[in-house]
Amino acid sequence: MSQATNRKLPVWALRLNGSAVLLFLYAPIILLLVFSFSASRIPGQWGGFTTEWYATLFDDSRLQRTISVSIRVALISTVIATVLGTMSALALERFKFRGRRVFDALLYLPIIIPDVTMAVMMLMFFSQSFNLVEAVFGIAISKGFATIVISHVAFNIAFVSVVVRARIAGMDATLEQAASDLYATRWQAFRFVTLPLIAPGVLGGALLAVTLSLDDVVVTQFVAGPGSTTLPVYVFSLIRKGVTPTINAVSVIMLVASLILVAGSVGLQRANAFRGRQQLQTTGGTS
């Protein structure tokens, strides 16, 4: 029967479209990789194999400084956002409290708000509060590392919370009840039952937060100070001036870093699915 419907569909056209889409998605990435090893000074032309451009990266102190800022911002903001996001996910999924609906709505906003609006908000907020602090206490603060971290946490809490909530929603609530029936305290039930079960969601949320933090250009550009710029903002300013073989090499490094993160999250999901199956097979396992 389904043969009849399939015959009418131009399968070759669908197949062509499918291949074209995959080619469209991967060709740019692969070509970027290839051209980063090209010896030609013109970035889009092939001039023999070289690793020279990667070597030049090690001499660029500005680049190294921005890489270190990026990594520190990503790590610190991810830790804070993961803790806060997980707490809010637990509160929203497992508890009723006053202001819950407002909180819920507030946590959706950073996800849907455009980058540019978020950037504008943070810029105005910091300049206003710095003026206020200077007027009241006479201390002059300027934008820098801290403002970048604060802004990244502000959008990452929401993303972590969404990922963790999805995990909690798919979790069996009776397990926690069973723990408390067995005289576990609230803390024990959380530490030994809830936390291990939601851990994959928490890790997934953290990986997303790292990715978003390392991806962000617009918000960071608005809240960075003169001395502290992240790698994407620096590279963005370089690209605007034109393409160079060095940017090719930096881009490939950023590409590899993000692919490692993807591999991490895919691996995590696999490991989970595997462990889930194992647990099903050995029902009653205590670990």
Partner: protein, 288 residues
Amino acid sequence: MSVGIAEAKRDRNERRRGLLLALPSFAYMILFFAVPLVIVLVYSFATRTSTGSTSLSDWNLDAYRKLGEPIVRNVVLRSVVLALVTTAICLLVAYPFAWFCAHQRPVVRNMMLVAVMIPFWTNFLVRNYAWRLLLSSGGPISSFTEAIGLGETNILFTKTAVVIGLVYAYLPFMILPLFASIDRLDRRLIEAGRDLYGSGSQTFRKIVLPLTMPGVIAGSILVFVPSMGAYVTPELLGGGKETLLGSYIVTQFLTARNWPVGASLSFVLMAVMLVSTIIYFRSGGKNL
């Protein structure tokens, strides 16, 4: 009676626990998100003084009125048109792709979906840069068209380049919801349509399309909304020749120093997102 009191007490304790758990992030979100949002709203009613600073003393709608002026109106219109074109192309490409994907063996299907997701997870700036490299004059695409006798192509810094970049960035957003709704489609309904002598296109228009509409709406919103506020892609691939909404807002803050106009535009942009999101949820979309 005492049972009821104990229960009420436990209930109150639970509520307190929930609030305590939510409090740190609640406080954070209010201080570093809600307050900034309110500041933008307040500024959108303020006046720009001749020195470029902002005066909050008299509130007015000047900044919003300015949105009707030809310059700003053209920027908004251009952004809307570009976002619509991007959405249409994504829809035309993604629908057959999602259909093809949904009709594969589970192994192939999962591989295809992962293949769509991987570029989406890679660094956004790098994805845009890759296109800048490909389209650059003397770059791979230009050399290719020259080699096959079509002459050099110079589409970098045009609207076409921006649309290519936007389609590249947001195509997965279209494919995934479409796949979800096509996968849910009951194939027997198509057969029933054919059994009742409906032609291929009739069956598609009367059965398949209406049933997969939630996916079409969700995907279109997920592509339209970020395309509308895009900043990085137009800057890198459009070369800033024709200003789009995102770049225009950034300019108002970083160079023109007209904060009220920038604030009012940001607010309008956000309102578009909010309305779209509500439509998205109404259409049955569940995850963002």
